[in-house]
């Protein structure tokens, strides 16, 4: 790795985040009591099927939630490099603007279509850079060439219009814009969807380079588990608005604990794998207006215990915490009661006592 900086220190700390939507039929909790940590130079994957709340979660973290959605509880603490910690919930517009693009940037879903069609690519870079950081406006052309080179695009791309580029090239241009001010954290939502397969590989490579060569942290949100297998250090799987398992990528793929995650991993066909029948998961994901009582997965779970239909399982650490963030496994399931302290807040305090929470 060619970056410098403290690997492993907490960069982003989400605690008990809840986002609700007002609908004609009542209030729906799209994100319910979600806690998540992202460390420096770490790639965290957020996985889950459609409707699980992962896009709502990322919008909330970026403070982009719009009515009829509302953040109703929780905190989001950012610990930027060389700056004071910022509490994003309740931050003023001014504070948010100084954080966006400089410390946290965003590559939204379908973003290859969000380039301005009537401006050249280079112009749009200049726009974004000068808007968020007027001081660095000098040597823009050089900087733009450097950024394009980082993502594998030639310098000539700056003089082209978006419609002259292919989908994959546009996606990489957006990624280059997102890292223009060297943020600590880049959040990418479905960065490989709707692209051809060979382009997907290049995008995955590009994203990995952001961490390997520039030391940035990444949060990659996608339902495609294969992308997580290739990219993530750690994966948090969401179901029905909650995180059900949060563990290292190898643990998630090779020994998943939560029944939903186990069945999900088991439902992925592989080229060259055995030809025996795979099982999917019966039933369908519940709607936010009708979450089941107790564990939200229990109606579809083959191993449900009696308490699963009445008591919501809490996120617990399985196995003794050893202070190494990457290898700890957390799961919210009655089949896996905690061996150590059961609440996530105190567990993370135990695991990283140097990082005090900013409240």
């Amino acid at each position: 790795m060619t970056f410098s900086g403290t690997a492993g220190a907490t960069l982003l700390s989400v605690r008990h985040l809840t986002v609700e939507y007002a609908t004609v039929r009542g209030s729906a909790r799209a994100v319910d009591d979600v806690s998540l940590d992202v460390n420096r130079a770490e790639i965290v994957g957020i996985a889950g099927e459609s409707g699980c709340g992962k896009t709502t979660l990322t919008s909330a973290i970026l403070r982009l939630t719009r009515p009829p959605g509302r953040v109703t509880a929780g905190s989001i603490s950012l610990f930027p490099r060389g700056g004071a910690p910022v509490e994003l919930i309740g931050a003023t517009g001014e504070e948010l603007r100084s954080v966006r693009w400089r410390n946290v940037s965003y590559v939204p879903q379908g973003s290859m279509n969000s380039l301005n069609p009537v401006m050249r690519v280079g112009e749009q870079f200049k726009d974004a850079i000068t808007h968020h950081d007027g001081e660095r406006a000098a040597n823009l052309d050089e900087r733009i060439s450097y950024l394009l080179d980082l993502v594998g695009l030639g310098g000539h791309v700056a003089r082209m219009y978006p419609h002259e580029l292919s989908g994959g090239m546009r996606q990489r241009a957006i990624i280059a814009m997102a890292i223009a001010l060297e943020p600590d954290l880049v959040i990418a939502d479905e960065p490989t969807t709707a692209l051809d397969v060979n382009v997907q590989r290049v995008i995955i490579q590009t994203l990995r380079d952001l961490r390997d060569r520039l030391g940035m942290s990444l949060v990659v949100v996608t339902h495609d588990m294969a992308v997580h297998a290739q990219l993530a250090d750690r994966v948090a799987v969401m179901y029905a608005g909650k995180i059900v398992e949060d563990a290292g990528v190898r643990a998630i793929f090779h020994h998943p604990r939560h029944p939903y995650v186990r069945r999900l991993i088991g439902a992925i066909p592989r080229v060259g794998g055995s030809r025996s029948r795979l099982d999917g998961i019966d039933g369908a994901a519940p709607s936010p207006l009708a979450w089941p009582a107790g564990c939200r997965f229990h109606p579809r779970c083959a191993d449900a215990l009696p308490e699963c239909s009445t008591v919501m399982p809490l996120m617990a650490v399985t196995g003794a915490p050893n202070g190494q963030h990457l290898t700890r496994s957390m799961v919210a399931c009655h089949l896996h009661p905690a061996d150590a302290i059961p609440t996530d807040v105190s567990v993370l305090e135990v695991a990283a006592p140097s990082q005090k929470e900013d409240r």
Partner: protein, 389 residues
């Protein structure tokens, strides 16, 4: 009026031979080409050739699954529409039991429709939002005279819903927006079960479904083949799904079929550099198997006009491109020294039986690439992108 063979009994049976001994029906494309013309294609010279001299064949007896793999823009959806009688090709014929489907009499058309059905990609768009979801089933029963009276029709509908693991109470009486994507796609399968066509053309049927549900759907398609004797043309961009489904495989790129053979042959021993590229780009779902080498992007921008179509269309991106690739359309060559379809598979596996899925026309593994020209070859062709043999 052609007589329609009665559907096989619906008792579960691994052997499709319980079907009445009807002669095999065939759905074929014969040298089909289709171009779209119009002002929108000015930058391509006024026409977009979506399908370029494609031939393929599906047989109903023994029932088979043929997968057509291609990326967006390859022409695979155009192929689906032409096979379903929705789009008349600019050149070539689409035939059903030897008759051109675009020249049929009304009775012939009716028989064709009864025997060739579809599953589409978009589980929402397939339902008319004005009506209840079950209407698609009732319309099928009505149109093809599947039941004697209303009670009989309801019984058959409930049975078909059960066959795709849907509870009638969950579905009947509901509107499409009240059902999940998986449920809606299953209703389409229930419709196929109801009609028991000889052929199903499934155009990207699982790409808009969640991963957990996809496998169920694919399993039902496989069951349709073994239990009810329906042959399926499965169109997808996802190679993992193609592998899971097994059977016969055609790889399509920019309107042409570049490689075909059994699924095992094509995916485990890919011959065409494009197929090799697709496989190399597929992320494995095993975190211990990560790419160690780097791939450079080889995309075209529209700034450079692409030369015409009298050449191999993969030349721009091919690591083994030769001079002749730019001047002639590569014909189809057999891939030599390959084991024939059916070997190398676990015995007792569900999907393949020895030679059962391969039609007489297309038994061998073949590829449209000059690297396999037996006359000119000096060294064995590369078996991977890196050029190592």
């Amino acid at each position: 009026m052609t007589s329609i063979p009665t559907p096989a009994s619906t008792t579960s049976s691994a052997d499709a031979g319980t079907r009445e001994a009807a002669s095999a029906r065939h759905l074929r494309m014969e040298a089909v080409t289709h171009s779209f013309r119009g002002a929108a294609y000015r930058h391509l010279g006024g026409e977009l050739v979506a399908v370029d001299d494609v031939s393929m064949s599906l047989a109903s007896n023994p029932p088979q699954i043929v997968t057509l793999v291609g990326e967006s823009g390859s022409g695979k959806s155009t192929v689906a529409r032409m096979l379903l009688g929705l789009l008349k090709p600019s050149a070539g014929r689409v035939t059903f039991d030897g008759d051109d489907i675009y020249q049929l009499s009304p009775q012939g058309r009716s028989a064709f429709r009864r025997a060739v059905q579809a599953v589409f990609q978009d589980p929402y768009g397939i339902f008319n939002p004005f009506f209840r979801a079950e209407r698609v089933l009732w319309k099928a029963v009505d149109r093809f005279g599947m039941a004697r009276n209303r009670a009989d029709a309801l019984a058959k509908i409930e049975k078909s819903l059960g066959a795709v693991q849907l509870r009638p109470t969950d579905v009947l009486g509901r509107y499409p927006h009240q059902l999940s994507g998986g449920q809606r796609q299953r209703i389409m399968l229930a419709r196929a079960h109801l009609l028991q066509p000889a052929f199903i053309v499934a155009d990207e049927p699982v790409s808009m479904l969640d991963a957990a549900v996809r496998v169920h759907f694919l399993n039902i398609l496989l069951d349709f083949r073994t239990q009810y004797g329906m042959s399926t043309l499965f169109i997808t961009h996802d190679l993992s799904n193609a592998f899971y489904v097994g059977g016969h495989l055609l790889v399509m790129s920019r309107g042409r079929i570049v490689e075909r053979g059994s699924t095992d042959d094509v995916l485990m021993r890919p011959a065409h550099p494009y197929t090799q590229l697709l496989l190399a780009s597929l992320p494995s779902s095993d975190p211990d198997v990560r790419w160690t080498d780097r791939m450079t992007a080889t995309e075209q921008t529209t700034a450079k006009p692409s030369p015409g179509r009298s050449r191999c269309l993969f030349a721009e991106r091919c690591p083994h491109v030769m001079d002749r690739c730019w001047h002639d359309v590569p014909p189809t060559y057999a891939v030599q020294g390959e084991p024939s379809a059916g070997t190398g598979v676990e015995t007792g596996a569900v999907h393949l039986g020895p030679g059962a899925d391969v039609t007489a026309d297309e038994q061998s593994h073949s590829v449209a690439c000059f690297l396999y020209d037996p006359a000119k070859r000096t060294s064995p062709p590369p078996d991977s992108l890196s050029g190592k043999t």
